[in-house]
């Protein structure tokens, strides 16, 4: 695999000046040797016209947050760089400066020169050109450790050094040798450390711990629950109370304690059944669509509502072939509907089924394992979305309220929302809501604090100067308000849509278009 580098894009003034600034500060950083009478400035910098060849030989590891690869770089271009400085030509002045550095307090062992140590600076222009580089390097990128670049061999093939002192052969040779060793050092030591430092800077790894310390003091003052939906600003904190609760929960899991602390807006796995009952699974939808399967048979299969398996028992036990046929047809209908994402409004335009796809470009979707799961299994996902829309009712009312159930079950089938609406929903709600809906308990990612994503902290109070932190949401952060609002909107939407859909379903039932059965279901 090789890359074509768009080298011409480097020829911008801003980049050149940026590089010049960077190089100037790098060259003048630290203590300059006494032989230099002035600071080094960059007179001319040209990237040239010929791009380097960049070839990836091997990718050892590839992940969302890490990458390891071996590449090969070849450059035989016309890049050139001209440096300007002043060189001290009086050797006794250099001796004097070196000797003064060794002095403790004042001039003691340095002899008192009169005029023999007078400085005499010669201007020096140094041009580096005809750089030939061919090297094999290893790039290791890890989100937690930054980017490391190491060259396996000595990448510098040759370099042409021309200076003001070219006429003096001895000096020219000396400079050539010195600069070659310097550049070799640069490739071997300076460049890897520089790149590593820069990558750390841009990943801002070390900032996080600072943030935590800075805000922990303030958070201990306010003691507000992070999951308190009323206080929006306090949502971004690790409050000690919350941590205490989490610890308590953890302990109950460890010790099999029966007392499980309750979290606002969070459902324990032990109570999960009450939710999954209302999940619009295949069976649920089937039951609602047919209106004929008696309550008894429904109840028998009620306990395996979690799975989307085809209720074979229902088909086997039934002796009536017509009914079996209808059930089958209904099943295939539901499946194909969800598979093809047929919208109610225009049936003619069927959306192409979404194949399994992993998009690495859109990071937000790919970041959470649940979202890949959604991509894997789109049918499930659409079901979940309808679950999510049915959530506020179950959450606002008490969970054990059985009177509510018929109302819930009145929702006839998986919501047929257009896929783009689904996408919008997915984008607008934070990914964490999926944890809330589906993944509860210790074994899930929710309580796994050491996740792949770096944990970031957030301020306890809204600080205008630190608004950007709002963007960095904690993995434990659940924006319930937002979810609730969204779901309310959704339910409003749905109630509006329901009529339409009823109408649509009527026509749908009457026309009953023949759709190809979906590909075999893998469950």
């Amino acid at each position: 695999m090789s890359f074509k580098v768009n080298w011409k894009s480097l020829e911008t003034d801003s980049l050149t000046s940026w590089t010049k600034d960077l190089l100037t500060s790098a060259l003048n950083s630290g203590k300059s040797p006494n032989i230099l009478a002035s600071s080094i400035s960059i007179k001319d910098l040209n990237f040239g016209k010929i791009a380097p060849n960049f070839e990836i030989l091997e990718i050892g590891e590839l992940g969302r947050d890490r990458f390891r690869g071996i590449f090969k770089i070849n450059y035989e271009g016309d890049f050139h760089l001209t440096l300007h400085t002043n060189v001290q030509a009086n050797p006794l002045n250099i001796y004097y400066s070196n000797s003064m550095e060794k002095e403790i307090d004042s001039q003691f062992v340095t002899p008192n020169f009169l005029l023999s140590n007078e400085q005499f600076a010669l201007p020096l222009d140094l041009k580096l050109s005809d750089i030939k580089i061919s090297g094999i390097g290893i790039i290791v990128f890890s989100k937690s450790k930054g980017l490391t670049l190491v060259f396996r061999n000595d990448p510098l093939d040759s370099i042409k050094v021309s200076s003001t002192f070219d006429t003096v052969q001895v000096l020219a040779n000396f400079l050539q040798k010195q600069i070659e060793t310097q550049i070799r050092d640069l490739f071997r030591e300076t460049l890897p450390t520089l790149i590593h430092q820069f990558s750390l800077k841009y990943l801002s790894l070390d900032n996080n711990s600072d943030d935590l310390h800075a805000h922990f003091a303030s958070s201990s003052r306010t003691h507000s629950s992070a999951l308190d939906p009323d206080n929006e600003f306090n949502n971004f904190t690790y409050s000690s109370k919350n941590l205490q609760k989490n610890l308590q929960l953890f302990n109950t899991r460890e010790t099999l304690d029966l007392h499980i602390p309750k979290f606002k807006g969070i459902i324990q796995r032990s109570h999960l059944e009450k939710f999954t009952q209302n999940y619009p699974s295949l069976l649920n939808s089937l039951y609602l669509n047919l209106h004929e399967i008696d309550m008894k048979s429904y109840n028998t299969y009620n306990n395996n509502t979690g799975s989307n398996g085809i209720p074979i028992d229902l088909l086997i036990n039934d002796k009536n072939f017509n009914r079996t046929n209808r059930v089958l047809k209904e099943i295939s209908d539901i499946q194909s509907n969800s598979f093809y994402k047929q919208s109610n409004n225009n049936k003619d335009t069927t959306v192409k089924p979404k194949r399994r796809r992993i998009k690495y470009s859109t990071r937000k979707k790919a970041a959470s394992p649940t979202s890949t799961l959604i991509n894997d299994d789109f049918h499930m996902a659409s079901l979940h979305s309808s679950v999510a829309s049915s959530m506020p009712m179950s959450m606002s009312s008490s969970l054990s309220d059985s009177e509510e159930r018929p109302q819930l079950l009145a929702q006839p089938r998986p919501m047929r929302i257009s896929p783009d609406f689904y996408q919008a929903f997915l984008k607008s709600t934070p990914e964490q809501c999926w944890y809330q809906c589906k993944r509860v308990g210790l074994g899930t990612n929710y309580f796994n604090f050491a996740t792949s994503q770096p944990i970031s902290t957030s301020p306890i109070k809204k600080d205008p100067a630190r608004d950007f932190i709002k963007e960095k949401k904690s993995i434990n952060y659940i924006d319930i308000n937002k979810v609730n609002n969204k779901l309310k909107e959704l339910s409003m939407d749905r109630s509006g849509k329901r009529k339409q859909r009823n109408y649509g379903s009527a026509t749908y039932e009457s026309e009953n278009p023949i759709v190809a059965p979906p590909p075999p279901y893998s469950h």
């Binding site: 001796y95 403790i104 003691f108 062992v109 002899p111 020169f113 005029l115």
Partner: protein, 469 residues
Amino acid sequence: MYTYMEYLQKCFYKSTNWNEDNIFSNITASSSAILDFPIPTGFKLDSSNKSTEYSASSFTLSNYHSINGSLAYLYSSVPLRNTMGTKEISLQDALVGFRIIEPSSNNHKQLSSSKRHDRSSLLYGRMYFPGSALEAMIIKRISAHTQLLIKCINNPHMDKNGTMIVYLQKNAPKYSREFIYSTNESLIGFRCLYNLGNSDNSLNTALIPKFDNSVISIGTELWYAARTMSPGLSTAFRYSTRSTSTGKPLTMTLAVNPILGHLSSTYTVKTSVASTFSSRYDFNFFSYASNLSLGFELYNYSRENPVHSFANRSVNLSSEENRFLSHQDRKVRGQHGGNTIPIRSHTSIAQKDHSNMIINPIQNLDNYYHINPTLLPEKKKLLDEVELAAHLSSENSESVTTAFQNLVNESDFASVVKFSTSLNDRMVKILWEGRVKDFLVSTGVKVGMNPVTNAPEFNRFGVSFSYAC
């Protein structure tokens, strides 16, 4: 400002008749004291004590970079009786300033007295903490005109743990020679200085006041660092004289480095008792780079006795300043209510007795030369008169040069302000040194132009306190 240990070293030199001005490295001492004075950095406190006449100790505390300090001890085989603490020391002695170059004429007198100092020695050691760096110095007089000076530092942080430098100095009245060897890169050096002109006209010194106080010195230095093969060479010429009319000393130097084509000329003049002005022009005839540096120092009289008394001095100077001084003196005396002794001006002397006194060959009143004919050697008969005149003149009145010099030496100054600027370096240095209570305080600032941004910035700033008793 000298540290107390440097001051004691100078006193040692003085009491053993070692002429420091005769060393090549001090050939531009006057101008560099006014142009290149150091600025203290940070806060520094120096407390010293001369416990006996032979030994002294010093303790220094400073906060440059971090709090650090040093302990120093000094031993001298010669009793240092002429030293003073910071309370009573005259500022001219304590500070690095203009040096009046004495013609090395009447050394024959001192030779006899310095016999007992032939084997004198001085030991000095200083320990720095933290860091446990040491510095030591030995001055050993081998003969009346020869001495051995060894300086070494030991610093465990250095690559070779230390450096030693050895000076073998011969300081005769007419010339001085130095051989130097430093272990740092095996530096070898040779310096010499010759005084031109027949200075010791011993016969007439008593008779004729020395009008010709000028000293011409020519010197050169040669360096070679063997390890790095770096050579160095420079020559210098110094002309030091005093104005015959006013007695004000001035020094001109011209230093050349022929290897690098560098040329440096200075002109330093003590414009009055309390002020000195110096200028330096540097030029390089290879690169045509030039630089002009200007500086001055201004002394302030102390409040206790603001005007110097001329009780036992008859000064006949023509300058405005001395006229002012004499006027002041008269006024002060009038205020005190005592009997006012008028200062004998030249005119009154001339009017009173025209023949027996020679004070100044230039008559300031009418710009006319009045050379006493009795002094001419042909008049043998008047020789006794001449002797009498010489005796009188040495007893009662002085020449303008010595009068000015004594005026400078005896003035009680409280503080001094030094200012120096350099056009090419674009920097300004201001230093204030003076007596506060019993302390000698030195504070200064260096403001330079940033070469990149052209914005003025503080390069150095510091305060230094020194106490000695």
